[in-house]
Assembly symmetry: C4
Homo-oligomer: 201 residues x 4
C-alpha cells in the first residue's frame, strides 16, 4: 500500500463527509398558503443547524490538514497504520450523524453529549493513529519539544470536546461555545506554531 | 501542502456538490390508483426544481473552471490561502440547500433572497481567495488591464446575484431571469476574454 | 485545462452518480408487529427498483468506458470541449432521478417516457461531445469505416432509448426489455469491435 | 484502460459507499415536549444500526485493501477484467441497502438473509474477478500454496456470510455474531499471512 493511495482514499472520505453535512439541513416543509413571514421564521429557525454544520465542516477541514501533515511525515505504510487509519476514517465518516442530531435537538443533553463524545472520539483515534505510527518508527524524528507540542495539541481537541459534552449538563450555551470555538482555536494555534510544523514536515 | 493535493481535494468537493444537487429533485408521491395524467402533471410541476438544478450545476461548473485557473496561476500554497480555500469549499458545499429551497418555494421572497445571497456569498469568498493569494504575492504577475478585467468579472457575479435577490422583492420572474442568466453570461464572457486568460495561466 | 484534470473530475462525477443510485432503493417501512412474510413481500416488491438500478449502473459503466476512450483519443482540451463535457456531466448527474421515478412507477407511461428520454439525452450529449471534439480536429484521425462504426454505435443508444420510450405507450414490458437490454447490447457490441477501438485509442 | 484509472475509479466507489453508510442512521424524530430520557432511549435504540454500520464499514475497508492488492498484482487490464470489475463495483455499491435493512429490522429473518446474501454476493463477485484475471494470465505467478491460501480466504468470506444468513433462521443472535465477526476475522487472518502476501504483491 503506497502513501499516495492511502492519502487519496482518505482525501476522498474527507471530501465526501464534509460535503454530505449540508444534506442534514432540510428545506422547511410548510403547509400550502403560507406567507413569506412564516418561511422567513422557518429559515431563521434553522440557525442552529447552520451553525453546527459550519463547526463540523471546520472540524473536518482542520483534521484534513492535520492528516495531510501526518501522511507527509510518514516514512511508509504498514498494516497496523493501514487499519488504524481505516478506524479513523470510520470514526470520521460518522460525523454527519452527531451534526444532524445536535442541529435537530440543540438544547438536549443527550444530543450535546453525543456530539462532544463523537468529536472527542474522532480526535482520539487520530491521536492513536499518530502514536501507532510513531511507536513503529515510521515518523520522521523530531525534536522533543516539537513532539510534546504536537502531542499536546492532539490531546487538547478530544479533552476540550469532552469538557464541552460535560458542560452541556450545566448549560447548553456553554457547550455550544466550546463546540463552535474549538475549530477556531485550532486554526489559530496551528498558525502560531506553523514554523515548528514546517520544520518537521 | 502541495498545489496538487489542494486541487484534488477541491475537485472532489466540486464533483460531489454538483452531483448531489439532483437528490433534491424528489420523485412525486402520488396516492395509489393515480392516472398517467396526474403523474404527468406532477412531473411538469417539477419544472422549477429542474431549472434551478441546471442553473446551480452550471454555476458549480463555471466556478470549477475558475478555481482551476486560479490554482494554475498560483505559485505555492501557504496557510492563509489554505484556510481561505477551506472557507470557499464550505460556502460551495452549502449550494444544495438554497437550490432545494428555491426549487420548493420558487415564488417566495425568502427563498429568492436566500438563493441570491448564497450564490453571491460563494462568489465573494472566491473573490477574497484570489485577493488573499494576490496580496501575498503568490499569483503570477499579470498586466494591469488583465487583472482589472479579472477583478471586474469576479465582482460581477456576486453583485448580479445580490441584484437578483433584491429583484425578488419586486418580481420573482425577474429574479429567476438573473439566476438562470448569470451562468450563461459567465460562459459567454469567459469565451470572450479567453485569449487574455490563456496569456495569464 | 489538462486532460488529466478533466478526466479526474469526470471520473468523480461518474463514481458518485453510480454509487448514489442505490440510495433510491428505500428500506420498506412496515407497521410494528409485522411478520416475516410481510417483510419478504415488501422486499420482493422492490424488484423493479433493483432491476432498474442495475440497468442504470450498467449504463453509467458503459459510458464511463466510452468517456475514457474518448479522452484517451483527445489531443487536447479547448473551451468548447470543456463546456460540452460539463453539459454531458450535468446530463449524467441527472441519472438518479429517472431511475428512481421508473422504480417507483414501473408501469406508468410518463415514467417510462421520462426514463427513455433521459437516457437518450445523456447519450445524445455524449454524441455531440465527440462531434465537437472531432470537428475541432482534437481527435486522432481514424479510418473512415472505424469512424462510421463509432458514430453508428454512438447514435444507436439514444435511438434505442427513444424507441423504448415510445414502446412504453404500447407495452411497459417491451419498454423494460429495451431499457434492460441496451446496456447488455453495448457490452456485447463493444467486445465485438474492440480490435477496431484498440487500433484507434 | 490503464490500471491507474481503474484503481482510481474503484477507490472512488469504495470511498463513497463507505461514507454513505452513515446516512442510513437517521436522527430520531420525537414529538415536541420530549424529555432527555426519551431522546436517550431513542439513541440507545439505534445501537443495532450503529453496530451494522461499523460492520459494513469494516467489510468495505477489508475489500478495499484486498482490491488494492489485486490491482497491484495485475499485469494489465483487458475488457473481461474491466467488466467483471464493473460488476464487482455494482455489487459493492449495493452495500448501503442491506445495511440499512438489517439496521431497521435487526431480528427479521428476511433482513438477515438479505444482508448475508448481499455480503456473500459481493465477496463472490470479487472471487470471480480474481479468477477471471488469473485464467487470462494477467496475475503475477505465485507459488501453489500461496494461491491456495488466497483462494481459501477469498471463498471463506462468502461461505461464512451464507452460513450467517442460514443461521438467521435458527437464531438472529448467531447471525449477528457471524456478521460482526467476519470482518474482524479477515483483519486477523490477513495479518497472519501478510508475509505470504507481501511475497506476492
Amino acid at each position: 500500500m503506497s502513501k499516495t493511495r492511502l492519502e487519496a482514499f482518505s482525501d476522498g472520505v474527507f471530501a465526501i463527509v464534509a460535503t454530505l453535512l449540508v444534506l442534514e439541513i432540510h428545506v422547511p416543509q410548510l403547509p400550502h398558503g403560507h406567507g413569506a413571514g412564516e418561511l422567513t421564521a422557518a429559515l431563521l429557525a434553522l440557525a442552529p443547524k447552520v451553525a453546527i454544520w459550519a463547526a463540523s465542516f471546520a472540524f473536518a477541514s482542520v483534521y484534513w490538514v492535520n492528516h495531510h501533515q501526518f501522511i507527509a511525515a510518514l516514512a511508509s505504510v504498514d498494516r497496523p497504520v493501514l487499519f488504524t487509519n481505516a478506524i479513523f476514517l470510520m470514526a470520521l465518516s460518522f460525523l454527519p450523524f452527531p451534526t444532524a442530531l445536535l442541529g435537530e435537538y440543540p438544547r438536549a443533553v443527550p444530543a450535546l453529549t453525543t456530539f462532544g463524545m463523537s468529536m472527542a472520539g474522532i480526535g482520539a483515534v487520530f491521536f492513536v493513529l499518530r502514536s501507532v505510527a510513531g511507536r513503529r518508527g515510521l515518523l520522521a524524528p523530531v525534536p522533543a519539544h516539537v513532539r510534546r507540542a504536537a502531542n499536546l495539541r492532539g490531546a487538547a481537541g478530544p479533552i476540550l470536546y469532552l469538557a464541552g459534552a460535560a458542560a452541556g449538563f450545566a448549560s447548553p450555551v456553554l457547550a455550544w461555545a466550546v463546540f463552535l470555538g474549538v475549530p477556531v482555536l485550532y486554526v489559530g494555534s496551528s498558525a502560531a506554531d506553523r514554523h515548528a510544523i514546517r520544520a518537521v514536515s
